[in-house]
């Protein structure tokens, strides 16, 4: 089932290998892997502190010693995570290290794609950074998080708002930190939106103008501008997307429902459980819900993406 290893042995690596540095969801990647979807951090302000993670190609272990969790895709102990994606790569992850071992014939962009999802999730969990399944949009000086399961329409809404002039801070995963006074802020992340061809076509784009995320899928990378104003943006509100046959509604939730919503929208909460980090998550989630309102949005399934973006813009104005 596992393909042949193609990465060069560690000892043979060229020590003069080019190194890149990227800012990514509160992490600073010092990387020998070129990841054009991430923000280079040559001119990052000092205020944008991050946890340094060394990223390199190399041979990963095939097993983790004493795993607390083990499947065909993932092994995890409290301090390390090993991920295997068939036809793609092995990823070995510690708090401050990511080793990638691509498999023979793997597409480079496929290998990178998992860095923006489960690999990022594992890195954030290992570093105790609250990690929500949400996109985030800059509205004024603040950030609005838009959460929901895959397919709920987070990225489509982000595109609609981007076209209205809003800056998209994150697609799909948003990591949240806290200032000394407990105020929540969101770190900025990947510089693209992952969009299906239907979404692009509905907005009048030609998919030939965009790069596919994987050759086998009709899902594309929509690049976002790099002129970021802020690395840490205060979180003003969270909207959680759902679907309905009824007219679109928005309702603020409170109390325990808020807490359950954060847990449900935590990216790979199950991994957090395996890493035995739920106590820490409980504190972060409690802090977040104490400061930030959460709204449930039941989006009518027939509303057009543009109309829904306009609807959400109206909600932002009301905050």
């Amino acid at each position: 089932m596992h393909n042949k290893i193609v990465a060069e042995p560690d000892q043979a690596r060229n020590k003069y290998l080019k190194t890149y540095s990227y800012y990514f969801n509160g992490l600073i990647f010092i990387s020998e892997v070129n990841i054009p979807e991430l923000e280079p951090c040559n001119d990052i302000p000092e205020s944008a502190q991050g946890i340094i993670v060394n990223v390199r190609y190399g041979n990963t272990p095939r097993d983790i010693v004493h795993p607390v969790y083990k499947t065909e895709v993932m092994q995890a102990s409290e301090k390390e995570v090993l991920i295997f994606i068939e036809n793609t790569a092995w990823y070995y992850i510690k708090k401050d290290e990511l080793v990638i071992e691509p498999l023979a014939g793997a597409e480079e962009k496929s290998v990178r794609l998992y860095i923006f999802s489960i690999v990022l999730g594992a890195l954030l969990h290992l570093n105790n950074i609250l990690c929500l399944h949400a996109s985030s949009i800059q509205v004024g000086d603040n950030a609005i998080l838009v959460g929901g399961y895959s397919g709920a329409g987070k990225s489509t809404l982000a595109l609609g708002l981007h076209r209205k002039g809003y800056q998209v801070l994150n697609d799909d995963i948003s990591s949240v930190g806290f200032d000394k006074d407990g105020s929540a802020f969101v770190y900025s992340g990947v510089l693209h939106l992952k969009l299906w061809n239907r979404t692009l076509e509905r907005y009048g784009y030609d998919t030939e103008d965009f790069s596919k995320l994987r050759e086998e899928l009709e899902k594309y990378s929509y690049p976002l501008p790099r002129d970021r104003a802020a690395y840490h943006t205060p979180v003003k509100a969270i909207f959680l997307l759902g679907e309905s046959q009824e007219p679109t509604t928005v309702k603020e939730i409170d109390g325990l429902e808020k807490f359950a919503a954060i847990r449900r929208n935590t990216y790979r909460y199950k991994l957090l459980q395996h890493l035995k980090k739920t106590d820490r998550h409980f504190l972060s989630a409690g802090n977040l819900i104490g400061k930030v309102p959460i709204f449930k949005v039941n989006r009518n399934t027939d509303i057009t993406p543009a109309d829904f973006a306009a609807f959400m813009e109206e909600q932002f104005v009301k905050l």
Partner: protein, 285 residues
């Protein structure tokens, strides 16, 4: 450990009705039963992503099928008490490693609900907001897959259905998971007896009084009234009620003779096996 009881069927074959019966039996005091049914769907992207630890939206159908047995095992591991009912419309198929997508080592059994394909065609066409001829064509396709990429994403993953007959024979031809076949028409004729078989097969304990109560609370008219009053979040089309008709034999008012003949010819073996036609192909329901 075996924990899962599958509620398996082709769509519009009584799966939701059985879920309301089980919900009324197990959680009868809960408010808004209809929108809090037991047996989550296996096709839920949200559920599978969490247990697979991957984004199914970034996987091909082949890859999803390869990871499905693992995700189902992980789902079973997270279940505290057995039996846990899971709804599925996916056909019993094998992935590219030649492993069944339904892992037997965590499956107590499967309750397979069969409904006369002549009624299924009509009901499913209404449900899907498409013409009857289109639905007949879809249900003849051996590679019938719903929610398939590449265009768009739905909250449910892409799923192999195959033809109506293939869907049934997939479960008939395997021997790893015990299956109880229940005909929708038998449930209509004697709900109590069919439901008792389901409950016994699942290893649940219930008195006859509890079963009768659940049956009464799950009467079609009651479900339809609840849907009209409070809505049903699983309804696909805003125009048509999910609990629309529910009767057996209503195809006679909707299908032409040519359509009926075409359906019978296509699904002959399974229709004959479940006594929906006689040896001469004459419909019995």
């Amino acid at each position: 450990m075996k924990k899962i009881v599958w509620l398996a069927s082709f769509p519009k074959s009584g799966n939701t009705w059985v879920r309301t019966l089980l919900t009324n039996l197990l959680n009868g005091k809960q408010e808004d039963i209809l929108n809090n049914l037991v047996a989550i769907g296996l096709s839920s992207r949200e559920v599978l992503d969490e247990h697979m630890m991957l984004e199914t939206s970034e996987l091909t159908l082949r890859e999803i099928d390869n990871y499905l047995p693992m995700a189902i095992r992980e789902l079973a591991n997270s279940i505290k008490s057995a039996p846990c009912f899971l709804k599925t419309h996916m056909a019993y198929t094998f992935n590219s490693y030649n492993k069944p997508i339904y892992p037997a080592d965590v499956s107590i059994g499967a309750i397979y609900l069969v409904r006369n394909v002549l009624d299924v065609v009509v009901s499913y066409a209404h449900h899907s907001n498409c013409s009857i001829d289109d639905m007949i064509s879809l249900m003849e396709k051996q590679d019938y897959i719903i929610n398939n990429y590449p265009k768009d994403i739905r909250p449910q993953i892409p799923q192999h259905y195959g033809t109506w007959g293939q869907h049934i024979s997939g479960w008939q031809n395997q021997s790893e998971i015990p299956v109880l076949f229940i005909r929708y028409e038998d449930m209509l004729a004697d709900t109590f007896t069919s439901f008792k078989k389901i409950v016994t097969f699942s290893g649940l304990n219930a008195t006859d009084e509890q079963l009768v109560n659940a049956v009464n609370q799950s009467a079609f008219e009651k479900l339809q009234r609840q849907e009209m009053e409070v809505g049903f979040k699983e309804r696909k089309s805003k125009n048509a009620l999910f609990f629309r008709n529910g009767k057996s034999g209503s195809w006679r008012q909707s299908l032409t003779a040519a359509q009926t003949e075409r359906i019978i010819k296509t699904h002959w073996d399974a229709m004959l096996h479940f006594n929906y036609i006689d040896a001469n192909g004459i419909p019995l329901y």
